[in-house]
Chain length 408, copies 2
């Protein structure tokens, strides 16, 4: 494997930086880093055959043989078009220049168990299953443990104020609950979720469908920088790779995989968020949809997911946090229902109580008529109601009291 | 059975009126009418033992024996308190005075199959199962077939503008679809559904928890009159009976039973509408809940019903009408999804298409690099895209076309 002295030097600096910044051990060799950097650019993700090939021969030999075209037919098919472009050193340098780095499966911080759900063999028929060959990241957050309790918040670009409010609040409260927010970097729900999370102090993660050096959409350049400052920008695409429609679909599987739960806040009839939800469900993740007004086109996708069983109801932010947390970690006590004074009363006692007035007294005979309960029973029940503070006896018969049961 | 000459005379007039108004045959004898009128007042609904007793000995003998107290223990318990109040003639007269009448099971118009779901024996543990002994009604609608395609619309009294909008629109569109609207007469959702139905020309039905001569809540007096003018006021309580809390729960079973589907539009955490929904589900009816903003307390009840499986999602009014109609009667074609030009393209063709520009041309070699697809395959795909109108060849290579598939 031919690497220039400059590349080697760069790599050493990168590794030192990584050590200082994240405290990780320098366990990943430079050859592996350069090989992985090359491989992430050479094949369009997801590259199932190449991934399998790397698993067998290791990244360094794989990169070497890909470069020479001495690989099995399926791998050749995935790598043929770009195998002559060896920009590994330049890519690593470009990433470093913006405070970024390449995280590889050999790194102890690699989110291995989260990404395992993407591993082939797959019969899920998912467009875009398959694990990434490496992840380009930039930002202040450490990758280690970042995705242990992560929730992805996805939804419409053309969100309504309602949707943006919910996404912002959700992003914020997830952070308060000690979780990581994951989303894309699109207009609407994605941006709102990040903004809420940033205000909450992060970490929040944007997974891109292009290189980590590209701001897409362009007006979100400063938002993406703020996300990096409060968390992490993640992409399996090498620096400089531009966004494309199929890359968003492929990217969506990473959003789903890196989170234990995916929440769809608003989605139109045809929406990328629904694709993420479907993918998350296929990966066995918790999928929730936030209901909205049926008068809004932006609710159609969420309600479709609810109707078809593709998602469960996210009736409140507290419910989402509970559903997304590790089993048992966030069990709220059942919400207390409002209580009525008469909650403890039996059916007949309630009827007698209903038949009484708060003001004017009634004789038992009248109460029997009004309630339709036999007189003997009425007399017994009136005494019961008196004991529990629900009724009061006077010279002119009986009257109702309010707030009885509370005093007993 | 002692009836005054005045009562007999009144009953003859009632029957004639009934004949003229509804065209029903005069098949219900006057003794039965007076007996049923007496029975509806003497026992507090639901009176399961009395109902069973009437089934065995018939209404006339049952009324006679109840009056004398010569009935089984369970029936005595249900009737003892009021058995001496024989206001049958006066009740029928009071009803007539306001254009009302008593509909009885012996009447061919009796909604027998709808109410059958309330028949004992029941092990459903429902508070308030059991069929009514008769139904006091007033209004212009005929009872015959009125409930054959009926949908109940229930919800919060403290509804939000969103809920009232949905209920009004739903009431209106149910009428347009040839269905009957059923509800209570409360503030909020009930009133909104009726108003929509009234504007649509009716019929709409208010089932009361008090006599048909009582306006409850009082400010709804004129609304109730308008409901009567555009449909029917229904109650199993004799004229003059005042509303009471347990009567609303008992009334709710009639709303559920008389409709093939119950729709909850908005409901707080503790709501009568949820009771109606639970009852409807226990009776085997279709139950739907309209989602709403999770930022609204008035959505809590609906979302709870959705989460617990107590209701299915009512994502649109069209969905409700389809779910509520007789099987197959209202099947809409599946909603058409918005189409993209590229919908027919395979995965690789889409990647090649994505790699092209609308303006600047690209050579196949560059397309192969950008898309990550081998050059040979790219050449084939470009020709495919040209044939389907998605791409155009020029002197400087290839460029993307929009709207291709539509022209093929």
């Amino acid at each position: 494997m031919a690497t220039t002295a400059r590349s080697r030097d760069l790599l050493c600096r990168l590794r030192r930086t990584g050590q200082q910044e994240s405290g990780m051990t320098a366990s990943v060799g430079e050859e592996v880093m350069l090989a992985r950097a090359y491989l992430t650019r050479v094949a369009e993700p997801p590259a199932l055959a190449l991934h399998a090939f790397v698993d067998v021969v290791g990244p360094v030999e794989a990169a070497d043989r890909v470069r020479r075209g001495e690989v099995p037919e399926a791998v050749l098919h995935e790598t043929e078009a770009r195998r002559e472009f060896d920009l590994a050193g330049a890519d690593l340098a470009a990433a470093e220049k913006m405070g970024g780095r390449l995280v590889v499966p050999e790194d102890p911080d690699w989110p291995a168990w989260q990404l395992l759900c993407l591993a082939p063999p797959t019969d899920r028929g998912l467009r875009g299953s398959g694990q990434p060959l490496g992840l380009w990241v930039r930002g202040t957050a450490e990758v280690a443990n970042l995705f242990d309790r992560a929730v992805s918040v996805v939804g419409a670009r053309t969100a309504t104020p309602y949707g943006e409010y919910v996404a912002t609040e959700l992003g914020h409260q997830l952070i308060q609950a000690g979780m990581t927010v994951v989303s894309g970097a699109a207009y609407g729900i994605d941006a709102a979720a990040h903004r809420g999370a940033i205000v909450g102090g992060g970490p929040t993660v944007a997974v891109l469908a292009c290189g980590i050096d590209i701001a897409y959409p362009a007006p979100h350049g400063s938002l993406i920088d703020r996300i990096a400052a409060a968390g992490l920008i993640v992409s399996e695409y090498a620096p400089g790779v531009t966004p494309a429609r199929h890359r968003f679909l492929v990217r969506n599987r990473l959003i789903a995989a890196l989170s234990s739960a995916t929440v769809v806040v608003e989605a139109g009839d045809r929406s990328g968020a629904r694709n993420t939800a479907t993918t998350a469900a296929a990966l066995g993740k918790v999928v929730m949809a936030v209901p909205g007004p049926i008068t809004s086109k932006m609710s159609v996708g969420c309600h479709d997911l609810l109707r078809t069983g593709g998602a469960v109801v996210a009736g409140s932010i507290a419910e989402i946090i509970e559903a997304a947390g590790p089993v048992g970690a966030n069990l709220d006590p059942a919400p207390e229902r409002p209580k009525r004074d008469t909650d403890g009363l039996g059916d007949q006692a309630l009827r007698v109580h209903d038949a009484l007035n708060l003001g004017k007294h009634k004789y038992p005979e009248q109460v029997a008529v009004d309630s339709g309960i036999p007189l003997d029973r009425v007399r017994t029940l009136l005494i019961e109601l008196e004991i529990t503070g629900h009724a009061e006896r006077g010279d002119e018969g009986w009257r109702k009291l309010k707030g009885g049961a509370r005093h007993v």
